[in-house]
């Protein structure tokens, strides 16, 4: 009986986490269109509801009403599985993100590794979609995407090692607590920049959105998807952006901690700080999209393997050396 009750409580917590998240995803698409509009001197969505606020709901309804088309040459099971996988993987990462001291669904010892594992699984949704569609554009998009994600995961992993060395723990709550007084983006500033750029590549966002390059691949891996399949990919991509922004905030911007531990800042509760930091990164995502032209694929690979990888490897050695030399190794 107690186990069933525990299960009910967990399901309730999951709903408390997922429902605002999905709402956030919906309004992230709205924010993206509004911010892009403002940057390009346009209005963005403005006709559905006041200031176009009901636009995401109208978009969702439209996709919901469309016919689901499954290409006849496709591998049906994998074709249907792929968008579900993408969407689920974008949601399960949230289980370990701490919103405040104790405000976390699963406070596990290996939180960072869990996030790394979830983000490395994200490639399967895309590669399965590309292969199951049985279409050249989709397959090319999937190949590009998987090569890109595997490449940039390596530098992400090495950058995370820097944070782990400095914090002395794999637990996200401990990592945030150890940033009290000095957020890690100050000592690890170059890594912070590289991490954000790698995250852009990892989430297939501009300027690294080669997997869905409209000009050469139509829209890449999701060409053949319509209706809810497409909607799930779309939601998955945006949920992934929010998740990655949360990871950036937790690792480098002190998670739920206020910038200064003095009165006007400590009045604002921790979860609000975390959400503000997430919004900052999301704005940077959109800003990059509005500003930067798309990378060429060989340049993307060059950047990942020949610039980011050696630099982050060097920084790991430097961090370890400094920590040992000045006896700063966390116990």
């Amino acid at each position: 009986m107690a186990e069933i009750w525990a299960l009910v409580v967990i399901v309730f917590y999951i709903l408390v986490l997922v429902v605002p998240l999905l709402l956030g995803v919906a309004y992230l698409t709205y924010a993206e269109r509004k911010v892009l509009g403002a940057m390009q001197l346009r209005q963005g969505p403005m006709t559905v509801g006041p200031y176009g606020l009901l636009q995401p709901i109208a978009d969702g309804l439209k996709l919901f009403m469309k016919e689901t088309v499954v290409p006849s040459g496709s591998n049906k099971f994998v074709f249907v599985l792929a968008p579900m996988l993408t969407f689920i993987l974008a949601l399960i990462g949230w289980a370990v993100i701490p919103f405040g001291p104790g405000l976390v669904l699963a406070d596990i010892n290996v939180g960072v590794l869990y996030l790394l594992a979830v983000s490395s699984l994200g490639v399967y949704g895309i590669i399965m979609a590309g292969w199951a569609s049985n279409s050249r554009y989709a397959f090319l998009g999937a190949l590009r995407s998987s090569a890109q994600m595997v490449s940039y995961e390596i530098s992400i992993g090495l950058i995370i090692i820097n944070v782990l060395l400095t914090a002395g723990s794999l637990n996200l709550t401990t990592i945030v607590e150890s940033q009290r007084g000095l957020w890690y983006f100050i000592p690890h500033f170059p890594m912070f920049v590289i991490f954000f750029v790698s995250v852009l590549a990892e989430t297939n966002r501009h300027p690294f959105d080669l997997p869905e390059d409209e000009a050469t691949l139509v829209t890449g891996f999701n060409v053949e998807y319509s209706s809810m399949g497409f909607a799930l990919f779309f939601l998955g991509e945006y949920a992934n952006m929010i998740l990655m922004s949360a990871i950036c905030s937790v690792l480098f911007l002190g998670g739920w901690l206020p910038p200064f531990g003095i009165v006007p800042f400590t009045w604002i509760p921790g979860p609000i700080w975390l959400i503000l930091k997430i919004c900052f990164f999301l704005f940077a995502f959109i800003w990059a999209r509005a500003t930067l032209p798309r990378y060429r694929y060989d340049q993307l690979m060059r950047l990942g393997w020949k610039v980011f990888l050696p630099l982050s490897l060097f920084w790991v050695v430097l961090t370890a050396g400094v920590l040992v030399a000045f006896d700063l190794v966390p116990r």
Partner: protein
């Protein structure tokens, strides 16, 4: 182990075994790889159940996140004719059966020796791990004879298995760890040398050269007379 854990164990073990069977039974090689990934994933779940969360996550990151992606990559791009493959299948049967029998016998030997082993020794063995890092507060044992067991129980509660693994790997097994690293490095270098070919026809982008170029080297201004041409 309570009822929920037991149920989880049976689900994970069942799915793991079933997907392992499907790896060799399914006709489509891409499906085989996908089943392999499912098997890895369930094995990771089993690791979590016995409290080895670090191994579980590493299994997912390394095998599922990187190795299986490359498998999938290769298998998807291979153009395999299944009818042709099935024709010569029987000629490999004796070799395959031999390897299978050897593996089965070895597994039975290992499992049998483990099942027959003295449990008190097994319980005491990890005590050497405790000696490596005596930083954590260890409860003072009441009698000298039970030191190892008591110490180990306390440690298991207070130290995460990441720390435990690191403490052993970088001290007792340091040379083996380094040797493994060297072998992997040699493998990487070997793989690159095998595939790297000089292709004089391809044009490569030399970023340094592009940046070093100055306008007066590549652009020339000429005064052109009307109706005279250059």
């Amino acid at each position: 182990m309570n009822a929920v854990q037991l149920l989880l164990f049976y689900i994970l073990a069942l799915v793991c075994t079933a997907s392992a069977v499907m790896v060799i039974a399914s006709r489509n090689p891409v499906h085989s790889v996908l089943y392999l990934i499912l098997a890895f994933f369930n094995a990771a779940g089993l690791f979590v159940l016995i409290g080895a969360e670090f191994l579980a996550m590493v299994l997912v990151v390394v095998y599922v996140g990187a190795v299986a992606v490359l498998f999938l990559f290769v298998v998807m791009m291979l153009d395999i004719n299944f009818v042709e493959m099935r024709e010569g299948f029987l000629q490999y049967l004796p070799v395959g059966a031999l390897v299978g029998i050897i593996l089965l016998v070895e597994l039975m030997l290992v499992g049998g020796s483990w099942a027959l082993a003295d449990r008190t020794e097994v319980a005491a063995a990890p005590a050497t791990v405790v000696m490596v890092e005596p930083a954590a507060p260890v409860a003072v044992p009441p009698e000298g004879g039970e030191t190892a067991v008591v110490a180990r129980r306390v440690r298991a509660e207070e130290v995460t298995n990441t720390q435990m693994l690191g403490a052993v790997l970088y001290t007792e097994y340091f040379y083996l760890f380094q040797a493994a690293g060297a072998i992997l490095l040699v493998a990487i270098v070997g793989a690159i040398t095998l595939t790297l070919r000089e292709r004089p026809a391809t044009k490569r982008q030399d970023i340094g050269r592009q940046v070093r170029r100055r306008p007066f080297e590549s652009v020339e201004l000429r005064k052109v007379k009307p109706r005279a041409g250059i």
